[in-house]
Every structure is written in C-alpha cells, then in structure tokens.
Amino acid sequence: MSQPGRPKDEYRRAQPEGTPVGAAALPLDAQALYLKLRDGVRALLRPGTVLVGIWSGGAWLAERLHAELQCEGAVGVISSTLHRDDFGARGMASGTDATKLPFAIEGSHILLIDDVLYTGRTIRAVINELYDFGRPARVDLAVLVDRGGRELPIEPAFAAARIELPAARKLALARDAAGCFSFSVREA
C-alpha cells in the first residue's frame, strides 16, 4: 500500500541514526536561544492564549515557557503523526506521544511552539490535527530555529534564530536530565 523508493529515516525510530556532526560548528546556543524565544512568545501572548508544543522538542519548550511565563490554564501537546503526508512512505511512527489538548480549541488563540522549522510539512499536519478538535480563532507559530527550506507557504510569527543548513543535515533539540536544552546535528 506504500510507495517504494523513499528511504525510511530516523523519524521512524525513537533513537536517531546517522553520523553525528559537531553541533559546536553551528552558532547555536540552545539555552540562549530559549531565552530569546521566551521574549518573543511573551510579546505574542494575548488574553486567553494557549501554548501548544509540537511533540517532542516543541512540547519541552512549551512546557517550560508555560511555567516561566505563568500562562493561565494547561499547556497542550500536539503530534503530527495522524496527518503526516508521507505516511505511505514512512509508515506509522513509533514512540510518538499522542496529542493532548486539555482545553477547548473552538474560538481560542493557539500559539504553536516548535524547536526547528524546516519544510513546513509538520506544521501543516499539526494544523489539520488541531482542526479535528475544533475551529480556533487564530493560530500562530513561534520556533527556536528557522532553518529555511520551506516547501509550503508557512511562516512563523517569531523565530529565535534563522540559519542555513544543507538538506542532508538533521537538526534536533535535545533535553538532558536537568532540563537543559542543546542541539544535535546529524547527517541524515
């Protein structure tokens, strides 16, 4: 039922594959960028805005932003799994968390948070996922890093950093036991 030809990549499995590339070579200090993101998100908040983090890196960021910005209500987690456009080639992703939106979506201002914005396909899937729960009044997006390479007309309201990265490299946020953020860069 799936289309042949497209290799299954590290998105599939919980643990990343491929050759690690020194993140130090990139001018990315995840902790410093997080503080910049926090300022950007603060400026985007309106009364009643709810933060929804995109699993997994975005969910970590949203959780911390929600606590530090003392947002009202709960924080949401959203997964792109059920609306991905490459399901036929990649199949079901394992190890992804389910969407948890413990508040009404109908008529609300949703601020999506993600770690890395690339093609925009995850954001498209996530917006579809969001609409399965209701019709929001407005949806915004804030990201830690915009690495360019968009394949859909999607732009963030705020990006803490904009970088150029070869298509062969995969940039992902990592979180250690103490809750500190760092970036990992791998050859896809």
């Binding site: 039922m1 036929g88 199949g91 948890k100 729960f133």
Partner: protein, 320 residues
C-alpha cells in the same frame, strides 16, 4: 517464494500482514499496543476520523459469521478514512463454487488494498497473503481453531490498561480451550509479553494435551485455576464446533466451570474478568459476573476498535 522468514514481517522485521501472534517479537506487539493508545483518544475528538488510509479500499471478507469482529473492523477502517467493502460471502460466488484464490484475484482486480479475512479453515489467511500483490495487506480476523490475533491484541491492550505491566501477572484462561483460536493467540501474546504465569483451565476433553511446551500450567479444577489470579479470560463454549460427546451437557459444564461470584472470590480482590464474546450467560459466565464490578467485557469491545486501527495503519505503512 516464501522463505523461512516469518511471512508477516518484511526484511526489516516490520509487520506487513497480521496472520498470527506466534513468532511476532515483543517490540512489534508493543508497537501495536502503543499505537492503539494513540487511536483510543481519537474517540474524544470532535472529528473522529484520521486520514491515514484515505483512498485505500479495505475488503472485509467473512467466510464465517461474526458481528462484533466484522463491525469493529469496519468502524476501525472507516475511522482511518478507508473505503470499506463488506462481502457477504455466504451469498456470493464462493457459494457458487469459486475458489478462495479466484475470489481474491477478482477482488484484487477491483483494487483492494487490504483484506480482513475470517475463515473456518485454519491457514486460509496465510494462503491469501502468499498470493496477493506486494502492496496488498492481509489481516487474519480468525481462522478455524488456529488464531485470532486482533482479539489477542485487544485482550493484551485491556490487560495493560488495567494492570499496566505483565511481569507479575497470573492469568487464567478458562473454558473451551480446544476449539478456541482466542486461547491460542492469547497464550502466545501473554508469553511474548512476559506474563508471570499462564493457567489454562477446563475439562480434559476441552483442553488439548500439547499445551505444556507453550509454557502454561494446565488445571482441570476451576478453584485451583482461579486462586490468586489477576486476570480471568473466560471463553465461549463453542457448541457449533463440537462434534461427538466432549461434554455430558452444557449444564454440567456450567456447574463445574461456569464463573460465578463465589468462585471469582478465589481470585485476587482486584481481578479483571474478560470474555471475547458473544457470552453464553449462565453457561460459562453468570450474569452477576458478566455485569459485575470486575467485568471489563464492554471496554474490551471499545479497545478492539483502537487496536484494529493500529494494526491496519501499521501494516499499511510498511512495504513488503
């Protein structure tokens, strides 16, 4: 054509058909249960549909009667946005003498992407899986006395939902074991997932003699089978599959092996009681137990939809 490799798995060890629990590694079973958890929450959404199988055709091919299983497969496929075609085989070409493989070839020519098959002959889904094109997937919805893998998976989902972990569990499977494809699939699944003790309980005529190698403890006495059990899986007395005098009477069976509240009291205080349905009230299970506080029979049905969604979406995403 078929190598020694498990025909359900591709060269990467990914599930492409679901034919039997036997031989499936633990991580495949766990992936299905985890994915089912994701789909269970789809029921809480305003839109109770996801687009994973949009544009795909799922053929429900039931050569043997079923209401619950066929309906839950249909709901599962529809929630995944597939087009579902239900074939009433008893009234179709099979009744006119068409062979199984000819039926499959014709349905494949109608661009079937997945077959959900129930058949009274053990192995029929294997035969189909060997003959379909690489992009077509097969799910066994019960074949003869052999296997009923999605029932076992939904049973495992139910157990994990209520008990979290399999490692310390004592599970008793009670009743007509010999005719039960559910019992076989449950035993394989429980053993793969690491249940501490699997007991099989029933009269000598209804318990096969070759179960010991499967790592189960056989009890012919209900009281000792139930003692301190965490999970009791009752099986339906399958009158339609019985030939010859395996039992004196259903009433006699009910007296010795029917699950009543006083017998259930021998199990752990937080025991859960399961049944694949349809239940024969007053034979293998008393109404007081089936409708009682320990019964999780109806949640099993709900979980069955999510588990079947998980199976269909996983196999549909893997290449042969």
């Amino acid at each position: 054509m078929l190598s020694r490799r498990n025909p359900q798995l591709n060269a990467h060890g990914e599930l492409i058909h679901l034919l039997s629990i036997e031989g499936l590694p633990r991580d495949v079973l766990t992936q299905i249960l985890d994915t089912a958890g994701t789909f269970l929450s789809v029921n809480d959404r305003e839109v109770k549909k996801v687009p994973l199988l949009r544009g795909k055709s799922v053929f429900n091919l039931f050569f043997e009667n079923s209401t619950r299983t066929r309906t839950t497969f249909e709901i599962a496929a529809k929630r995944l946005s597939a087009d579902v075609i239900n074939l009433d085989i008893a009234r179709s070409s099979a009744a006119k003498g068409e062979s199984l493989l000819d039926t499959i070839a014709n349905l494949s020519a109608m661009h079937a992407d997945m077959f959900v098959v129930r058949h009274s002959e053990s192995g029929a889904p294997y035969l189909i899986a060997q003959h379909v094109a690489p992009h077509v997937h097969v799910v066994n919805a019960g074949d003869g006395r052999h296997a009923h893998p999605t029932q076992a998976l939904l049973d495992m989902y139910t157990i994990r939902h209520y008990k979290q972990d399999f490692s310390g569990l004592v599970v008793a499977v009670v009743g007509d074991i010999v005719h039960s494809r559910v019992a076989r699939s449950d035993i394989h699944a429980l053993s793969t997932l690491g249940a501490a003790e699997i007991r099989v309980v029933g009269p000598k005529t209804l318990v096969p003699g070759d179960l010991a190698p499967m790592g189960v403890r056989v009890c012919h006495d209900l009281a000792s089978g139930l003692r301190d059990a965490d999970v009791v899986i009752m099986l339906r007395l399958q009158n339609e599959r019985m030939s010859g005098a395996l039992l004196p009477s259903a009433a006699e069976f009910a007296k010795s092996y029917g699950l009543s509240p006083d017998k259930l009291a021998l199990a752990k205080p937080d025991v859960i009681v399961m049944h694949p349905g349809p239940i024969n009230r007053g034979i293998e299970i008393d109404s007081a137990v089936a409708d009682g506080a320990h019964s999780v029979i109806l949640p099993q049905v709900t979980f069955g939809i999510a588990v079947r969604m998980a199976v269909m979406s996983i196999i549909a995403g893997n290449e042969a």
